[in-house]
C-alpha cells in the first residue's frame, strides 16, 4: 500500500462536553478521491477545520506529506501543499476573477515582498492563472468583478485558485453546493480527472456526485467514523443505512 498524503491519527476535539471529533482516523492516499459524508452536525466542518489548521485537536496527530502538521496554522499548511476550497466561498470580492487567481499563483510563487513590479503584468503569474481559469471554464469571465459572479461560478473560481497552488492534496468542502444539475455534472467530470494530479478529500452532500466519484467513503456520525469503504461497501453497510442514508438508499 502506498503511503498516504494526509492522515489523521485518532484526533479528538471537544466543545465543552460535546465530542465534535472522536478518535477520527482517516487517510487520503495518492490518486484517490476520499469522500467524507455524514448528516448535519456530524462534525464534518470541525474535522475540516482541524485538517486545514483553523483548529488544533485536543488529542491525536495530523500528518501531511510525511510531516507532523498538528501544530501548524493555516498558512503553513497551505504552503506545505494543502489546497482548500470553502463551503461558503471565501474570495476577495472586490477583485476581478483574474486577480483572485493571480493571488493564488502569487501565493505559490511566494515573492510577495515586491513593491514596484505590477502583479497583473507579470507574465508567469498571469499565464498560470489563465491556465487555471481555462481548466475550470471561467476564462471568459476573467475581467468580471468577483462579487458579480453567481454562487456556482464562485465555487469554480475557488477551485481555479486552488489549482494555481499546485497542491499535493485538495481539501474540498461541498464544492457542488449551489451549482445546479448541469454545473454539478461538469464539476464531477472535472474532479474525476483531477484526482490523478492530487488526491481529494471531499466533503459533499450531493450523493450522486459522491457515489460517482469516491474511491472510498468515510461516514461520520456524532463525531465518529462509523464506516470507511468503497461506494458498494458503504451502500451495503447496515449501520450506515440506519444512521444516515435512510429508507431511500
Amino acid at each position: 500500500m502506498t503511503e498516504p498524503i494526509l492522515r489523521t491519527d485518532s484526533i479528538t476535539k471537544y466543545f465543552g462536553a460535546v465530542k465534535a471529533s472522536q478518535d477520527v482516523s482517516i487517510e487520503l492516499r495518492p490518486g484517490e478521491i476520499h469522500a467524507l459524508i455524514g448528516p448535519n452536525g456530524a462534525g464534518k466542518s470541525t474535522l475540516i477545520k482541524q485538517i486545514a489548521g483553523n483548529m488544533t485537536p485536543d488529542a491525536g496527530r495530523i500528518w501531511f506529506d510525511g510531516r507532523d502538521v498538528t501544530q501548524l496554522g493555516t498558512v503553513a499548511r497551505a504552503r506545505a501543499g494543502l489546497g482548500r476550497t470553502f463551503q461558503i466561498s471565501s474570495l476577495a470580492m472586490e477583485y476581478t476573477v483574474l486577480q483572485n487567481v493571480v493571488l493564488g499563483a502569487l501565493g505559490r510563487d511566494g515573492g510577495v515582498m515586491s513593491f514596484l513590479r505590477p502583479a497583473m503584468k507579470d507574465k508567469a503569474l498571469v499565464a498560470e492563472a489563465e491556465a487555471a481559469l481555462e481548466r475550470v471554464g471561467l476564462i471568459d469571465l476573467k475581467s468580471t468583478r468577483t462579487a458579480d459572479l453567481s454562487h456556482g461560478q464562485r465555487r469554480q473560481l475557488e477551485v481555479a485558485v486552488a489549482l494555481t497552488l499546485r497542491p499535493k492534496a485538495f481539501l474540498m468542502d461541498e464544492p457542488m453546493a449551489g451549482l445546479g444539475a448541469s454545473g454539478s455534472k461538469r464539476l464531477t467530470g472535472f474532479l474525476d480527472g483531477l484526482r490523478a494530479e492530487a488526491p481529494i478529500l471531499l466533503v459533499e452532500h450531493d450523493m450522486d456526485a459522491v457515489f460517482a466519484l469516491a474511491d472510498r467513503i468515510s461516514v461520520l456520525v456524532y463525531g465518529e467514523v462509523i464506516a470507511t469503504g468503497t461506494a458498494a461497501e458503504i451502500r451495503a453497510n447496515p449501520d450506515v443505512r440506519t444512521a444516515y442514508l435512510g429508507e431511500d438508499a
Binding site: 493555516t74 497551505a78 477583485y95 476581478t96 486577480q99 501565493g107 515586491s114 514596484l116 497583473m120
Partner: protein, 329 residues
C-alpha cells in the same frame, strides 16, 4: 473609461497644486504659496495613511504619532544644531544637524521603527479595537511630548532658521514649496506602484478577506504590518517637512485631532483613491482658510460636507469627479 477619466482628474489636481503657487510667486503673494505648501505636506501625510487605511483597511486613529515623530526628529536635530549642543556624547558623539536630507532619513527611520512596534501590537486586534489601540498610542506620545521639558514640553520647540537643502534657499517660499511638491509627487508615485505591485495585490486581498490570503499560503498579518510601516514612514517624512514649514514643533503634532483630520482628508477625497488625500487636504485647508476667517466654528461646515460625501458620494470627491473605481489590471 473611468480609469482614464481619473487620470485626467489627477493630472488636473497636480497642475492646480503646482500652478497656484507659481502664479502666487509671480504675483508676489507669499502667503498663498505657504498655503499650497501646507496642502502638499498634509496631503503627503494623507498619502501615507491611505496606504494603511485605503489599501490595507487598517483604520489608524494614531497616525499623528508618525507625523509628530517626523516633526520632533527635525525639531530635536535642528535644536541641537542651533544651540551648538551635542544630542548625545556617550557612548558616541551625535551632533544635531540643519541638513534636510539627514533629517529626513532620521524621520523616516524612526517613524518606521515606531510603526513596526505599534503595528505589531495593534494588528493583533481588528475593527474598533484597532482604532482604539492606535488612538491610545497616539495619546501616549502626545502626553509624553508635553511632559518632556528638554524639548520645550507643552510649548514646543522653535527653530529660528529653516533647514538647508543643497542648491536651494529654503527660506524662499516657492523653493520650499518645490521640495514639498516633489516629496508629495514621489510619495504618490510610490503609493501608485505599491497598489499595483505583487505586495499591493496581497494587501488588497488581506483587506477584503484575510482567510483568502491564508488559503494561498501568505500571512495577511505580515503583509499588513509591512504596509503599516511604509505608511508610517511616509507620514513621518511629511511631519518633518511640516515642522520645517512652520519652523516650529509642538505636541499638537501628536494630537488625535490631527489623526482625525488625516482620516477626514481621505474620506473627503475618496478612500483608497490615489489622489484622495490630495483633494481632501486641499479642500480642508481652503475651508479652514476661508471659513475660518468667518467663524471660529468653521468645522461645523466641514462636518456637513463630510456627511454629504459619506451619504451621497461613497467614492469621495475623486469618485464624484471620475466615477466608480474599476478593478485595476
Amino acid at each position: 473609461m473611468t480609469m482614464i477619466r481619473e487620470t485626467y482628474v489627477n493630472a488636473a489636481i497636480m497642475l492646480l497644486l503646482l500652478g497656484i503657487p507659481v502664479w502666487a510667486h509671480v504675483a508676489g503673494q507669499p502667503f498663498t504659496i505657504t498655503l499650497a505648501t501646507k496642502v502638499a505636506i498634509l496631503a503627503m501625510a494623507g498619502v501615507g495613511l491611505n496606504i494603511a487605511l485605503g489599501l490595507g483597511g487598517m483604520v489608524s486613529l494614531g497616525h499623528a504619532v508618525f507625523f509628530g515623530i517626523g516633526g520632533y526628529s527635525m525639531g530635536i536635530l535642528a535644536h541641537h544644531a542651533q544651540t551648538f549642543t551635542p544630542l548625545m556624547e556617550v557612548p558616541l558623539l551625535i551632533e544635531g544637524t540643519k541638513f534636510m536630507p539627514v533629517i529626513w532619513v532620521v524621520a523616516v527611520a524612526v517613524s518606521a521603527l515606531v510603526a513596526l512596534a505599534i503595528g505589531a501590537l495593534s494588528l493583533r486586534t481588528g475593527g474598533v479595537y484597532f482604532i482604539m489601540i492606535t488612538l491610545a498610542f497616539g495619546q501616549m506620545f502626545y502626553y509624553f511630548a508635553i511632559s518632556w521639558p528638554a524639548y520645550g514640553g507643552e510649548d514646543g520647540l522653535s527653530i529660528f532658521v529653516r533647514n538647508d537643502f543643497p542648491g536651494l534657499n529654503t527660506l524662499v517660499p516657492i523653493q520650499f514649496f518645490a521640495i514639498a511638491f516633489v516629496a508629495l509627487s514621489l510619495s504618490l508615485t510610490l503609493s501608485h506602484l505599491i497598489a499595483r505591485s505583487r505586495f499591493g495585490l496581497a494587501l488588497g486581498a488581506a483587506r477584503q478577506n484575510a482567510e483568502r490570503v491564508q488559503t494561498v499560503g501568505l500571512d495577511p498579518m505580515r503583509v499588513k504590518l509591512v504596509a503599516f510601516v511604509i505608511s508610517g514612514a511616509i507620514t513621518g517624512l511629511a511631519g518633518a517637512l511640516f515642522a520645517d514649514l512652520n519652523r516650529f514643533v509642538a505636541p499638537t503634532m501628536f494630537s488625535w485631532h490631527l489623526s482625525g483630520e488625516l482620516i477626514i482628508f481621505i474620506i473627503l477625497g475618496g478612500i483608497g483613491r490615489l489622489f484622495g488625500p490630495v483633494v481632501g487636504a486641499g479642500l480642508f485647508i481652503l475651508l479652514e482658510h476661508f471659513l475660518g476667517g468667518l467663524s471660529e466654528f468653521w468645522l461645523i461646515y466641514v462636518g456637513a460636507i463630510l456627511l454629504g460625501v459619506v451619504l451621497f458620494a461613497r467614492g469621495g470627491l475623486i469618485g464624484a469627479l471620475s466615477g466608480r473605481e474599476v478593478a485595476h489590471d
